[in-house]
Structures are given as structure tokens and as C-alpha cells.
Symmetry: C2
Subunit: 135 residues, 2 copies
DNA sequence: TTAAAACTATAAAGCTACTATAAGGTCAAT
DNA sequence: ATTGACCTTATAGTAGCTTTATAGTTTTAA
């Protein structure tokens, strides 16, 4: 199959596929005489793996790491689990930070209604004076 | 004061200050005969405002918008509040998305203990087979 | 006094994960 | 013959800095 079909199959853009190849995440496929890339089902699986990892928020570097584990199936999967644990704790700290941020924003927003001029705006004043009780 | 002192005062790197100037977020300061930038207290306040906005997660474009409101204090502050409301809802949807992601990651992680080879790893299998019940 | 350390300047590249644009070659159908 | 859809490479743009390179200036220590 050619790049456009693969792209449609997995739901990515063709440029993204070329990008992954260039980044070493997808093996370079064979070429037709005219230079067109020819993909196999294996490539489709590889690409789908990458996309699922991306949906899970893994970085390309982390995906690369996972691929290296896949290529060497004899080692224990401790490293895979550790990578995921790291990622989970990363996501959790993001959530915590965003929740704190939301609280701050809401309290800032509560300091002004819409019926003022900018010079009396509680929001701008709040930011300017720096009375942002940081966590 | 020179750029290094300003940087230390506000807690940013000197390059960041030059970057903000280049982006039009910080007015170009006067220069000494040797070309060194000379900052006033006003610059310090402006820079502190920018940093507080950044801590609140506002983009440079949004900060630019806020600055334009500051420069024109006669208009009502509806726009300021709208900007903040938008940002709050953005943060909230980020939180929701991350919480869904966390659930997914935790359930994936639960599909494997550490005592397997990579070829039997529940995590890798889970990603590969795509049994990720998406939201 | 001089040499090193610390500071300043500009310009350009690097980072992440793509997306978009440009300029062109290939192929099937009209 | 030419239109349209597809493919190729190379390059630039996105956000918000950070890093690197190269060079000039000031301050401090020997």
C-alpha cells in the first residue's frame, strides 16, 4: 500500500508518516521504481502502536524506548512498567498543578464583575499587584 | 539597572528578558553608550506582570491582549473578564482530559506485574492490541 | 597593570511534534 | 493534451523559551 492509503487507514496525515520515518520511529519502507513508498501490514501495526502511545501522552522518545523493549523480548518487562509508572505520576502532577491553577484563576475572576472600566478592573489589579497566593 | 539585575530581581534569565522585548511584550529600554540596556522600575513591573500571567498559564498572545487593555483604561473590562473566563474553561477541559487519561493509564498498568518477560508484558500487549477504551 | 572572571551584546540554532508551503515528478482519466 | 489526484524532497512555521557561538565590556584579583 502507498502512503496515502496507510495514512487513511490509521488516521494520520502523510507528512506525519514521513516525519516518523525520519525520526526513526517507523522503519523505512521499500520504494517503487518511481520512488513511491510501499508499506506492508507490519508498518500499519507499527504506526498504530505509535499513535496509541501518542494518545496516551507518551513522548516520541518514550515510544522509541518502548520499541527497543519490543525488539528485545527476552528481558523482563520491569522497564516497561517503570516507564508507565513514571508517566502516570507525571500526568498526576500535571492534574494537581492544573487544579491549583484553576482555583487561583477562579478566585481572581471573582474579584471583578463586568461593570467597571479597565482602570478599576479587579482582575488586572489582581495580576498587577501580585497578590496571587502561590502554592 | 542592567539586564542581569532585572533578571535576578524578577527571577528570569537575561535571555528571556531580551526575548520578551523582541516579542513586543516589554518596551525597548534606553541604552548606555556601550549598548547595555538600562531598565527602570516600570520595566520591572511590566516584567513581573508578564511572569505572573505566564504562571497563570496565559499565552504570550493573551498577555499582549491584556496589555492593550491596560493601555486603554477607558473601555469597560468586559474583555478582560472574558479572556479569563475562556482561560478558566480551557484549564478545566485540560483537567478533564488528563483525568480520563490517568484512568486509562492506570488500567493499562494494572494489566501487568513486573515478573514477566517483555513478550508477555500486559502493558505492551495492551497498547499493541489497541484495547484502549477511549472516551 | 594585566589577566581572568563576570557581564553584556547579537545572531542563529535547538527543543517537541508536528503542520504547512513550495516546487516539482508520476499516473489515470478525459 | 491536460486536468486532477497522488507522490517526492526540502524548508519554514508553530510556542516559549534555552542553548550555543562569537565578540565586546566591565569588574575584580594577583
Amino acid at each position: 500500500m502507498r502512503i496515502g492509503q496507510l495514512a487513511q487507514l490509521v488516521g494520520v496525515e502523510t507528512q506525519t508518516i514521513r516525519f516518523y520515518e525520519q525520526q526513526g520511529l517507523l522503519p523505512p519502507p521499500d520504494r517503487q521504481d518511481n520512488g513511491y513508498r510501499v508499506y506492508t501490514e507490519k508498518h500499519g501495526e507499527g504506526l498504530a502502536f505509535i499513535r496509541r502511545c501518542r494518545i496516551l501522552g507518551l513522548s516520541l522518545a518514550e515510544i522509541h524506548e518502548l520499541q527497543s523493549y519490543q525488539d528485545d523480548p527476552h528481558q523482563p518487562c520491569t522497564a516497561v512498567n517503570a516507564l508507565l509508572d513514571d508517566h502516570i505520576s507525571h500526568v498526576r502532577s500535571q492534574i494537581t498543578a492544573l487544579q491549583a491553577l484553576e482555583k487561583q484563576l477562579v478566585s481572581l475572576r471573582a474579584s471583578c464583575n463586568d461593570d467597571r472600566g479597565v482602570e478599576a478592573c479587579g482582575v488586572l489589579a489582581g495580576i498587577s499587584e501580585g497578590n496571587m497566593h502561590q502554592q
